[in-house]
């Protein structure tokens, strides 16, 4: 075991954290509202959208993320290129930073998971809450923003936490997109002297730190938003 390398690579792996976090945050920013809206469409059985959402969820949940990454990474440029050419878009599609692919894949993926999370969470908020909001003169948007969403969030929070932790872990697959995230940085460092054992230990430590920190923050936040639940008996 090369301890010097172990320490050095730990910091190299750590320098991949921002990349992992950016992907995570962007994906969540897209997936949270989208997942919520699609969950509503499924609950209210809005035709077409609801069925599409269903197929979409089942595909995304049914196939490995790495395969999804591959499909998006390979096919998006192939599909876009003729469109770009047709409309004389100047940008070279291959100059796009691969992080955009990561945004697409992980947002799509997280959205699918959050649809299910929100679907069950929304159904725990009783219909009476919405009716009461209407009865005091709130409109739909107001009722959702002020009454339903805050309550849904509390129920959904533990599952959102799980989804976030899984998302952070999944960003390690970003190496397939040549993204300089935690995993890839450590592996590149390991390649020089083939110090893979040390590299994997470092990857393990960085993810453990990162994810338990995220979990901890979620717990704190959960405590805050749960305050209205008082001391449940």
């Amino acid at each position: 075991m090369d301890y010097q390398f172990l320490v050095k690579t730990f910091f190299i792996a750590l320098s991949g954290v921002p990349t992992a976090l950016i992907i995570t945050i962007v994906s969540l920013l897209i997936a949270l509202p989208l997942g919520f809206l699609l969950a509503l469409s499924r609950i209210n059985r809005i035709p077409v959208i609801s069925q599409l959402a269903r197929v979409y969820v089942s595909f995304v949940r049914g196939t490995p993320v790495i395969v999804q990454i591959f499909i998006i990474f390979t096919s998006v440029p192939l599909l876009l290129k003729p469109i770009f050419e047709e409309y004389h878009v100047k940008t070279n599609i291959y100059d796009i930073n691969p992080i955009w692919y990561a945004f697409i894949v992980f947002s799509l993926n997280t959205t699918a998971i959050l649809i299910e999370v929100f679907r069950s969470a929304i159904s725990t908020v009783s219909k009476g809450q919405l009716e009461a909001a209407y009865s005091v003169g709130l409109n739909n948007v107001q009722a959702f923003r002020r009454i339903i969403i805050p309550q849904t969030l509390v129920v959904a929070l533990p599952n959102i936490c799980t989804a976030t932790v899984n998302l952070i872990k999944a960003t390690s697959l970003g190496y397939a997109l040549s993204l300089k995230e935690i995993n890839l940085r450590a592996q590149v460092a390991a390649n020089v002297g083939y110090n893979y054992i040390e590299a994997y230990i470092d990857i393990f430590l960085v993810y453990l730190l990162l994810c338990s920190l995220v979990e901890y923050l979620f717990k704190l936040y959960e405590k805050r938003v749960r305050k209205y639940k008082a001391v449940d008996a």
Binding site: S126, G128, Q129, E131, A132, A133, Y134, S135, V136, G137, L138, N139, Q142, R146, I147, P150, Q151, V154, K227, Y228, K229, A230, D232
Partner: protein, 251 residues
Amino acid sequence: MLEIKNIHKSFGKNEILKGVDLKIEKGDVVVILGPSGSGKTTLLRCINFLEQADEGQAIFGDMVVNLKSATRKQIHQIRQKTAFVFQNYNLFNNKTAIENVTEGLIIGRKVPKAEAYKIGQQALEKVGLSDKINSYPSQLSGGQQQRVGIARAIALNPDIILFDEPTSALDPELVGEVLTVMKTIAKEGTTMLVVTHEMSFAKDVANKVIFMDGGVIVEEDAPEEIFSRPKEERTQQFLKRVIPEDYIYNI
């Protein structure tokens, strides 16, 4: 002030309301009685558009609204003029008592925050909960929750308050609390339409009692009349069941 005409409502094939007419004047306290499933809740909900009626008209002052094809704006207007007190309170779980009361004012009516708080405090005081202003619903007893529910309704200063069995989810001992509050605001001249099983309230406070069964109004009259001399047989039967003779004590 409020007139409902020929309201019909079905769930699937089940016709629940079969043409109900109703007229309430300003300051009236109207109590609706009737067996379970007779459509009392449905009637109230249709008035407040929590259900969409299949047919019928509501006349609110000079506003005439078709209950089936009301526009969003009309619905909003009617909801601004009414308030609803739910059987199981339906307080906003994520808001404190005062926030529950002011929510509709601040967000729905755009009343300035400070003013809304003042109105809210007065309303909570009226129901005797000045000391629970910052409690969450989960920290209140059922009776207290329902009193917040009533405060929420009166704070809106609506033309009419609809009550759907406001005491039936309460322990017998807490019923008193809520009835007292209701009596107080009734005596202040608030117009109220109340579905309840509390005969004492009907007898003491109402100036009209309506007996519903099977989706129609069977009988309506002043409370003294209906309790002592019910004309219809169904009314008699019902009253007998709800007020059993052996319930009479002389303490």
